[in-house]
Symmetry: C2
Subunit: 359 residues, 2 copies
């Protein structure tokens, strides 16, 4: 991997490699547009022909697009549909590949009406892995996000004690991350105590922490558009024997999966290693989600580390490893790191120790 | 308007009034699902037949749906498409109306494949105004959100002075709103100083405030899911004569529009009043956006107060009035309140004075 001060031409070339039978591709996912041009606005459309690139924005974003976007013409339009129609007409575009998860049916039906001669083809999964392998600059940003987040957690960890509410902790953690340089929290921070820790997607509420609680903190920061993702589970003493045992087992599953990560292994194989580790301990039924996911401009992106996934890990991918055990009505434990895949092994980017910590 | 402890049956009845030729409606917009059932999860699908209601969620949200959703059966499915397919098959649903702005083409194509006999019809604009008229409980929540936000702004207003950065102010304001009881900021807070104030959608950056700046603060809070939206523009002294003059003109446009708001007036008429007020002063070309929008479970919802809109204001609607003047490269001024439409006139819900304030 080399550092490239202008990564966009190479990215657009990779995009064009998938243009196949189409005259142009329609890129609608905000993060893909950012990846391909540098434009960070939250609304825009990118059209890529074989030798041209057109970024369509409305009047709110024209100035920003002119300042940010690289290697593309910029057109201002009142609506996405009007813009696509005009550019497609002007450039005699007949066959258009498009990101079908990011186009609404409303716009799709209007486009078919306005461009009756055009053929619209949903793009295959090809674009899903466009951003999966990161370059050095991207990795540096994820690393920075993880460090900002980890420092914030270290600074507020003393708040995790009886009588403090979940949402107070989440708020202070997000505030500290932003004071520390994060553009924003990577997602709505999860602080889940007691029975709430048994919900994989709990939202922090008014529940106060009590002695004997497991407290799951799932959090991340954004730096330069790139996300980090880490989960620590603390036990507010006294810890029961069962809690210590389950923590040890989740940690073991997490460690085994991480030890297996390297370029060339399938995503499904990593999931299987974590899953079998918990199944051996009789806890398989309580591990109710996938083992991990890619992290980058989105906090969830390709690849997915889940059962049966045949995608192959490549050097430069950044993925989470996050086994968890959830005992409904009781408590839960999840342990998550974000790691960089290397030719041999991987490097953990999230900074917080995953040793059992009883507070 | 009366307070109704369970508003959902009436809302679902209004929804069903639009079922027309269809056997069922597919509701996909998260806020519409919340409005119709009380379910606050961020992923789900609601199907409404003439005498049945089915909420489809994946395993992450089953427990939450059972605890929150009112008047609906709950089904757990791995994917939206699988869920819709199963329920439509079981209930012999042939004609399906759906929210076309909220369905992706990817899911649409899969549904057509899995339900080859079904007819899918995009819903007309009908659902857009489903939530436009608020009940007392909704108004109370918007009012509360506006007060939480206003108190937070009052508490941090002293930060608006030379050498303080835009993003520091935005961060402290959001933190104060959440400490004051907001679930979150209503949107990414805008603090735009100097030339940034000439961008209607500026994002707060590292620019430090300087003497002579206009500083636009566009901010809001969320309370019980309901949003507030308010913009104050401060001038950090010394204020120029031109700044004072433009402030007075924007304020005049804002006041005239608010004085005209009452049930029975069209949205376009309110926009025209604000626009003509600025045109009279020769500033029409610098007022580059609509005059306002509805506020509720979304920060932008129906109705839109924009040129030519024939929708009629009704008592109980909550809308913003936000004229602004933007002088590119120089500075800008926007003044915004959120108001409740009444039979006679309107009530301003946002608490901050719009008198010219030179700090």
């Amino acid at each position: 991997m080399r550092h490239d001060p202008s990564p966009y031409p190479e990215r657009v070339n990779r995009l064009r490699a998938g243009i196949s039978e189409n005259d142009a591709l329609l890129i609608l996912h905000e993060k893909n547009i950012r990846y391909l041009t540098g434009f960070t606005g939250s609304d825009g459309t990118l059209m890529a022909g074989r030798d041209w690139l057109a970024l369509l924005v409305d009047g709110r974003y024209t100035t920003q697009a002119r300042g940010e976007a690289v290697g593309t013409e910029i057109f201002e339009f009142r609506s996405r549909v009007d813009g696509i129609t005009a550019v497609a007409g002007e450039r005699a575009v007949g066959a258009i590949g498009f990101e079908s998860p990011s186009l609404s049916v409303e716009d799709y039906l209007r486009l078919q009406e306005k461009l009756p001669g055009a053929v619209f083809s949903p793009l295959s999964d090809g674009l899903r892995s466009l951003r999966a392998v990161k370059n050095e600059e991207e990795i540096a940003l994820i690393r920075k996000a993880a460090l900002i987040a980890g420092e914030a957690l270290a600074a507020i960890r003393e708040m995790i004690r009886p009588d403090v509410r979940e949402k107070e902790i989440a708020l202070e953690l997000e505030y500290r991350m932003r004071r520390g340089g994060a553009e924003q929290a990577a997602f709505e921070t999860i602080v889940a105590a007691g029975a709430n820790a048994a919900l994989p997607h709990a939202r922090p509420g008014c529940r106060a922490i009590a002695a004997g609680d497991c407290v799951i903190v799932d959090y991340g920061a954004v730096s330069g558009g790139y996300h980090s993702d880490e989960t620590c589970t603390y036990i507010v003493g006294p810890a029961s024997e069962r809690q210590r045992e389950v923590y040890r087992l989740v940690r073991e599953a997490h460690d085994r999966a991480i030890r297996a990560i390297r370029a060339g292994v399938t995503c499904g194989a990593i999931d299987r290693i974590a899953r079998e580790s918990l199944e051996e301990a009789g806890l398989g039924a309580h591990f109710s989600h996938g083992t991990g996911h890619g992290v980058g401009l989105d906090v969830h992106e390709a690849p997915r580390l889940a059962a049966g996934r045949e995608d192959i890990l490549r050097a430069g991918m950044v993925v989470t490893v996050e086994p968890g055990i959830y005992l409904p009505g009781d408590w839960g434990i999840r342990i998550e790191d974000t790691v960089l895949v290397k030719e041999e092994g991987c490097e953990i980017l999230t900074p917080t120790s995953k040793e059992l910590t009883v507070l």
